[in-house]
C-alpha cells in the first residue's frame, strides 16, 4: 500500500493480463509481485501460508494468492480470471490473472479484452508452446499493444544466458509477426523472486528492468480511451427530464464529446447539434472517453437505446452485413446458416452466419479455408443482422468495433467478435 499518495486521487492506471501456457508460472509470478510489493494484508498472507501447509505444497505456494477457488487449489491450475488491484507510488494496476488451459480460452479472452498490456510468462525449460502462441495471438488480436515477457524458472536452468537469448529471439519474432511493437523480455524466477521486484544477484548479465520496473515504465492509458475514431456515444438509456425534455445517456468512446458539437444520429442518419453535455453534477464543456454522460440534442428526433450519436466528421458505418474476426467458444461448431443473437454496444439484434471464410492457423499465423469454426478457433466470418449495426473497424475503436454472439435459447455468450479482418496479419 502506498501511504504517501493516498490523499491524491491517482489518475495513472495500467490494466494488464497474464498470458501464457498452463504451468509456466503465471499465478506464482503475480503472487510474487503482490507479496514483494507488499500489496497483501497480513491475514491474507497468513491464509496463503496456512493453505500451503494444509495442501502439502511444501514452501508457501504463491499461486494461492490468486487461485482462490477450491477446485483451483486442488488441481493446482487456474480455472477463471482473478482480478487483483495494486498500487505503487507511481501508478495503480488492475491485474487480470488468466488461466492457461486451452479449455478456458474464453476466460482468458475475458481477462485480455480490457487489458492494455500482456504479461507473457514462458517456462525457460520448454520455451514457447503452442498455447503461448495462441494466447499471444488472442491478446494481440484484442488490441493489446505491449508485451512484458517473463522467461520464468531461470533458476531451474542455472540462469543460462544462452537459453534466455534463444527464448527471447523466439518471442521477439512472434511479437513482430503479431504487430506488437513494445516488447520487454525479462529473465525471472517467480519462485525465488529474482528480477520480479528486485534484481537479485543471480543474473549479473541481465541489464534490463525488473518486471515491476517494466510495468511502471509501460505506456499507460485506458483501453476505452482515445482511439483511431472521432467521437461516438452509444445511447444506453433515455432520461426524462422535467417537462417534455429528454436526455440521452451513455459512455463516451473514441474521442472527447464537446458541447456544441455537430453530430449524426445513427442509424437514422439525421444531423443535429449537442446542446448540452452533462452528468448529475452539472454541465461539462468536454467529456473524455470512458465518462458516462447524458446529452441534449437541438432536434427532437426519435432516439432510443441502441442508436448511436457520432461526430459528423468520419462517422461510423451503418450496415446490416459485416465481415468479422470471431473467437468461437461454443461446444458445438459455428456453421453457415446458424442463427444467433448479436450484442454490439447497447444494441442487440438477431443475426445469421452467411459465410465462414477461413480459420486462423496459430502455428503459421495465416488464414486457411474452413467451413466451420470449432471451439476455441479464431476465424473470419460474414454475418447478416436483422437491424442495422453502427460500426467501426476494431483496429480503430475497441468499443464500437467489438461484439459478442449469444445463444438465443439459453443466453450463454458463445463468441467474441471483432469487426474487420484480423489485424495481426500482413495487410494489403
Amino acid at each position: 500500500m502506498s501511504t504517501t499518495t493516498h490523499r491524491e486521487e491517482t489518475t495513472d492506471l495500467l490494466r494488464f493480463a497474464t498470458v501464457g501456457s498452463v504451468d509456466d508460472g503465471k499465478s506464482t509470478l503475480i503472487g510474487r509481485l503482490l507479496v514483494d510489493t507488499k500489496q497483501l494484508f497480513d491475514d491474507q498472507l497468513d491464509a496463503v501460508a496456512e493453505a500451503s501447509v494444509r495442501r502439502g505444497t511444501g514452501e508457501v505456494d504463491l499461486s494461492f494468492v490468486t487461485d482462490g477457488l477450491r477446485a483451483e487449489r486442488e488441481q493446482g491450475i487456474t480455472i477463471d480470471v482473478a482480478y487483483r488491484y495494486a498500487a505503487t507510488p507511481s501508478r495503480k494496476f488492475v491485474i487480470a490473472d488468466c488461466p492457461g488451459h486451452v479449455q478456458y480460452t474464453r476466460n482468458m479472452a475475458t481477462g485480455a479484452s480490457t487489458a492494455d498490456l500482456a504479461l507473457v510468462v514462458i517456462d525457460a525449460q520448454s520455451g514457447m508452446k503452442e498455447q503461448t502462441r495462441r494466447h499471444c495471438c488472442i491478446a494481440a488480436l484484442l488490441g493489446v499493444s505491449e508485451f512484458i515477457v517473463c522467461v520464468n524458472k531461470m533458476d531451474l536452468i542455472d540462469w543460462d544466458a544462452k537459453r534466455f537469448d534463444a527464448v527471447e529471439a523466439d518471442v521477439r519474432d512472434l511479437a513482430a509477426a503479431l504487430g506488437v511493437q513494445r516488447v520487454t523480455v525479462v529473465p525471472v524466477s517467480a519462485l525465488l523472486g529474482d528480477n520480479v521486484v528486485e534484481h537479485g544477484s543471480a543474473s549479473p548479465w541481465y541489464r534490463g528492468p525488473t518486471v515491476l520496473g517494466a510495468l511502471e515504465l509501460a505506456k499507460a492509458g485506458d483501453w476505452t480511451g482515445d482511439d483511431g475514431t472521432t467521437t461516438r456515444l452509444p445511447v444506453q438509456w433515455v432520461i426524462r427530464q422535467v417537462g417534455e425534455r429528454r436526455s440521452y445517456a451513455g459512455m463516451v468512446a473514441g474521442a472527447p464529446l464537446v458541447a456544441g458539437q455537430r453530430v449524426l444520429v445513427l442509424p437514422l442518419g439525421k444531423e443535429t447539434t449537442v446542446t448540452e453535455v452533462s452528468t448529475y453534477d452539472g454541465p461539462l464543456d468536454v467529456a473524455a472517453p470512458g465518462i458516462s454522460v447524458s446529452v441534449d440534442l437541438e432536434h427532437d428526433f426519435d432516439v432510443t437505446r441502441g442508436d448511436m450519436i457520432a461526430d459528423v466528421v468520419n462517422p461510423p458505418t451503418v450496415t446490416s452485413a459485416i465481415e468479422a474476426t470471431v473467437c468461437w467458444f461454443g461446444a458445438q461448431p459455428l456453421k453457415v446458416g446458424d442463427r444467433i443473437r448479436l450484442k454490439h454496444t447497447t444494441h442487440s439484434t438477431p443475426a445469421r452466419v452467411t459465410a465462414i471464410e477461413s480459420v486462423l492457423k496459430i502455428d503459421t499465423l495465416s488464414l486457411a479455408p474452413k467451413e466451420e469454426l470449432e471451439e476455441n478457433e479464431i476465424g473470419v466470418v460474414h454475418l447478416a443482422t436483422a437491424t442495422p449495426l453502427v460500426v467501426d473497424d476494431y483496429s480503430k475503436n475497441r468499443i464500437t468495433g467489438s461484439f459478442v454472439l449469444i445463444d438465443e435459447k439459453d443466453h450463454t455468450t458463445l463468441a467474441a467478435g471483432l469487426v474487420g479482418l484480423p489485424q495481426i496479419l500482413p495487410q494489403g
Binding site: 489518475t11 491474507q44 490468486t66 482480478y83 444506453q236 465518462i291 450484442k343 443466453h411
Partner: protein
Amino acid sequence: MPSPNEETTARDTTARGHKAFNHLDLLESQAIFIMREVAAECERPVLLFSGGKDSAVLLHLAVKAFRPAGFPFPVMHVDTGHNFPEVLSFIDETITSLGERLIVAKVQDSIDKGRVADPGENGSRNRLQTTTLLDAITEHKFDAAFGGARRDEDKARAKERVLSFRDAFGQWEPRKQRPELWHLYQGKVLPGEHLRAFPLSDWTELDIWQYIAREKIALPSIYYAHERDVVERDGMLLAVSQFVHPQDGEAVQRLSVRFRTVGDATLTGAVRSTAATVEEVVDEVAGARVSERGATRGDDKFSETAMEDRKREGYF
C-alpha cells in the same frame, strides 16, 4: 484522457470547464454504465441495500445514473433481525429522503415459516440470509439483484464476473461463468434464473472511502470512532448488545472503536480506532495491515473457502 496542463486536484462540480478525470471519475462512470445496462437489459432488477458503506455508495451511484427520474427498480433490505440500531435508522432515513420503494425481507419470517432453523438468540443469522434472499427473489420474480460486493474483498469474489449468473436454484457455479468481454454485459436469463450485478467490482476499500469523502456520502455513525462496550471473542471485538452477551471469562472493555464492515451484529467485529472523520478513516484504511473482512468478519473464518461455499449456495 487528461492533458498534463489541466488542473488535476480542484473539483468544482458546478463550474463548466475542462475538468480532468481521475480514477474515481472512471470508476464512477463505469459503475453508472453497468447500472444503466442492467436496468435496460433486465426485466425486474432490485437493488440490495444493507445500510453498509458499499451499498450507500451504490445508492448514491443510482441517483447519479437515473435522476431526475425515479429508480427503475425497488430497493430491498434483507433484515437478519440482528441489526445495529444506528444502521436501521440510517436505512429508513436514507430511503425516505430518496422517495424510493423499500422492500424488507426478514430472516425472522423465514424462521417462522420453518424455511430455516432458528440458530437461537445469540446464534449467527448471517448464512440464513441466503434463504430469505432467494425466497424474496423468487416471490418478486427479480431477474437481477445489484449488490455492493467488491473483488478486493475476498479471493472467491476476485473470480466473479460483474454480471454473475445464478441458476434456477440461486447457485453460483464458478467453473461455468459466462464469458464477459469488453463492456458488453449480457443481462438475459431464463425464467427462474437471475443475475447478481456488481457495479463496484473494480473498487478497493480505499477507493470507496476516497469516494465517500469526495461525494460527502452519509453513513451510519458506527463507521466512525466512538466509545463502546466490547468483548474479545475469536480474535474479534464484538459489541455488547441484546444479541451479544459476555460469556464466561470474557471481560467487557470500553474502547474507542469503529466498524469497517456492517453485517449481522453477532458476527461483525469492531476495530480499535480513533478515526472520527472521513479524512481520518481514509488515512487509517490506507495504512491498514489487515484486510477488511479478516479484521471484522467471523463468517469468513470457518474454512479456507468459506466465501466460495456461501456464494455457491446463493449468498450475496
